[in-house]
Amino acid sequence: MADPHDAKDHRDPDQHPQDVVEQPAAPSDPTVPATKGVLRSIRWGELLVPILAIFTAILVGAVIVFLSAPAEKGSRLHVTWEAFKGLFIGAFGNWAEPSTIPNALSGTLVESTPYILAGLAVALGFKAGLFNIGAEGQLLIGALTAVSIGVWLPGWIGVESLPAIIHLPLAVLGGFVGGGLWGAIPGYLRAKTGAHEVITTIMLNYIALRLIDYMIVSGPMKDPAGSAPRTPFVQGPAILPQFVGVVRDPSLTGGNTYQPLIATTSSTWDLRVHAGLLIALLAVVFVWWLLNRTPKGFEIKTVGANPQAARYAGMSIVSTTVLTMTLSGGLAGLAGAGQVLGLEHNMKSVFSGGLGFDSIAIALLAKSNPIAIIPAALFWGALRQGAGAMQIRSGISINLINIIQALVIIFVAADQIVRWIYRIRREQGGQMVFTRGWGK
């Protein structure tokens, strides 16, 4: 195989491994400004299929709403209309009453934040040919370590409190390390024994759930002051602050003061969106840089596209696999850390509502492109944020969103179906391959 740096830049730098059969994309010339690379990496024609997939999924969702509309809410057509109107109002605010808009948009951003990180986690795995279904478990463990550091670190080292500049980074880092270790286990098993990560990560999800259950319901991390099973509140310096918000009464948060970046007294501007969003965006830039501007990223993509070629080129499949799974787990762990440090400020035994599975959908929707993760996650966040208002207005269960999600995954993963429905010409190249033996 040719030296990667000699390879001509005849392909897009951020190409999906599925299109790359014989040779993966090389890191492009470092003298090209990064922004140019970002723009070039978007191939507008490729957007057609995901958008049609979403459109078709929503259409099918509408048919399901129409068929299962509760009779007491009016005619079927009316309920369907109300459901989608509610979805929009929940996600983007009622534009007739402008005061609802900031809150709705902030809610959408809050919902999207963990999706960006967890979607990125799955996408990074995809790049290396690894199917990380374990984002859920990694997220839980990340949240657990982040919340432990946020609550107890000063006590462990014997001080009253730490300055935010030390405490917050450590708590966030804790989330990354916790999730990363939980991801490294299946990575190591996959690399060394061939145990398929799809099953090992799912098993680790269940193990993580039981561990959280033990720690928070019956075990050492339960807050004796709480009525429902949850950990104590994290200390003030360890939180990811709201950008704009009302300062809460400390008695509601276990005696901790949570200072927003800009304090306000107006409830219109008491926005839940928090600094975790910045971490998510930084992570996107980092993954994009890693994959497109570093030799390690090139190795990851080569191992994913053609392990045989990678081995001949002298790359270590073992270390690349373990590294990718660790980073992937770490990103999912960051998602968990963001939820506990920025939003909940403690950890409950029932924590993540299927974030891990949603992140697969986001990674597929974004075709594993780190930049495209952002719009995909925003779409998902908007759906989640809107679902509540939809349920109130039309009486349709939030679970409808899960069906739409599954349909989007079907139509995106099986883009042949969408191409077949809309008679779009088939693209060149193969597709992602995860099916291997189960063990060595």
Binding site: N399, A406, M432
Partner: protein, 439 residues
């Protein structure tokens, strides 16, 4: 020659596990003794070695309190030490001899099995446990695993990976339950007939989901892991939607699951009767299907063809077997089996449907299939291994046990990872598994 080999790693693992068990049991019983003495309990034995775990075999179908047929008293600490010392000796032997592969799988199986046994007698120290009931529970909870493993096997032997078994079980359970509710309501019948109709619908639903998997992966040639994941995610969304929008609001006269079906005569045998011949229908079906599938797969034309298209589809095609058509039907048959497993959850153990009630059993079933090296009897052996972990954690919850129940609940999942990591031994999947076939 590398110093750390599989045999040595396994031997070292066994020694560590055994030592930890010995120390833990000893420490735990000492604390228990001190507590009982402090409380002045009359049950406190004279020393730690005095704790006895009794395994008893009751007379079948007698009220509790009837004297048992037999009682096996085991000194708790003595038995634990004896087993652990044997395991340590065997582990040391493995490290010293360092065999290429012989004995490693056996050692790991023994390690897992004896660990379960040690946990059981540890939990019942100073108390007694019904051996027949424990074993009967093992067989009972092996039902979905056995059926799931057969489902995976039928697909994979023909060359299609099926990771969607979990989702097929879940949809089977959901639709079967709904069918039983609705039919019971229509005919105002509260008996067993609507439940049986539900079982039928569960089986068919599993088949339909499987047909979707087959369509995606065989017709559209989507990666089989992605296609299976799609099935799983769709199952969660669909059943969650149906449950919150329909099931919880629906009232029906049907309230009871399938009845017990003790086999006359045979079920009166002590120990063997309750373990094998006093179950509900789907469990019997599973036991029979394991045997039937073994014969079908290795003794019939269908079995030979199935294995052929999984090993070398080109060759099979050359002799006139319609590879993709046969794969399609095998996947659908697998779906029927998974649907039956789903019926077990919603219509046999209990009569209800909960979100995510299959709890990962579909994935564990795949591990059982791998453990059994893609043979029905072997896969059922794997299913028994996992179900004993499951039965153990259910059983131990009745006792005052040192370990938190959550850690015991982790057991099946941990064992699955150990099995997958190939510690048991190398497994060779069908050669063409996962590869779409093009003419």
């Amino acid at each position: 020659m590398r110093f750390i080999t599989r045999a040595r790693a396994v031997g070292a693992l066994g020694i560590v596990v055994s030592l930890v068990l010995m120390l833990a049991v000893n420490a735990n019983l000492s604390t228990k003794l001190a507590e009982q003495r402090a409380a002045g309990s009359a049950k406190a034995p004279s020393s730690v070695w005095g704790y006895v775990s009794q395994l008893y075999i009751p007379e079948p179908k007698t009220p509790p309190g009837t004297p048992p047929v037999a009682t096996i008293p085991l000194p708790t600490l003595g038995t634990v030490f004896f087993i652990c010392v044997l395991l340590i000796a065997a582990g040391a032997f493995l490290i010293a001899r360092n065999p290429e592969r012989r004995g490693i799988g056996g050692y790991v199986s023994a390690l897992i099995g004896f660990t379960f046994f040690v946990l059981l007698i540890w939990a019942v120290a100073g108390d007694r446990v019904d051996l027949a009931d424990t074993l009967s529970r093992v067989v009972r909870v092996s039902t979905p695993l056995g059926l799931g493993a057969l489902a995976g096997l039928v697909c994979e032997r023909s060359g299609v990976v099926n990771i969607g078994i979990e989702g097929m079980m879940l949809t089977g359970a959901c639709f079967g339950y709904i069918a039983a509710l609705v039919v019971g309501n229509w005919f105002d019948a509260a008996g067993q007939a609507p439940v049986w109709f539900g079982v039928l619908i569960a089986v068919l639903t599993g088949g339909i989901m499987a047909a979707l998997h087959a369509l995606l992966s065989i017709r559209f040639k989507i990666d089989q892991i992605i296609s299976g994941t799609v099935i799983n995610i769709m199952a969660v969304g669909l059943t969650g939607y149906l449950r919150s929008n329909f099931i919880i609001k629906y009232d029906s006269p049907v309230k009871k699951p399938l009845n017990d079906l003790p086999i006359p005569g045979l079920s009166d045998i002590p120990l063997l009767g309750p373990v094998l011949f006093n179950h509900k229908p789907i469990t019997y079906m599973m036991l029979l299907l394991v045997l039937i599938m073994h014969v079908l797969l290795f003794r019939t034309v269908w079995g030979l063809r199935t294995r052929a298209i999984g090993e070398h589809p080109k060759a099979a095609d050359t002799v006139g077997i319609k590879v993709n058509r046969m794969r399609f039907w095998n996947v659908v048959i697998g779906g029927f089996l998974a649907g039956l497993a789903g019926a077990w959850f919603a219509l046999e153990v209990t009569f209800r449907f909960d979100d995510l009630m299959t709890n990962g059993q579909g994935f564990i079933a795949l591990a059982a299939m791998i453990f059994g090296k893609w043979t029905p009897l072997g896969a059922y052996g794997g299913a028994l291994l996992f179900s004993s972990a499951n039965a153990l954690q259910l059983k131990v919850q009745n006792y005052d046990f040192a370990l938190a129940p959550q850690f015991l609940q982790m057991l099946p999942y941990v064992v699955t990872i150990i099995v997958l990591a190939g510690v048991i031994g190398k497994a060779r999947p069908p050669a063409a598994v996962g590869e779409p076939y093009d003419h």
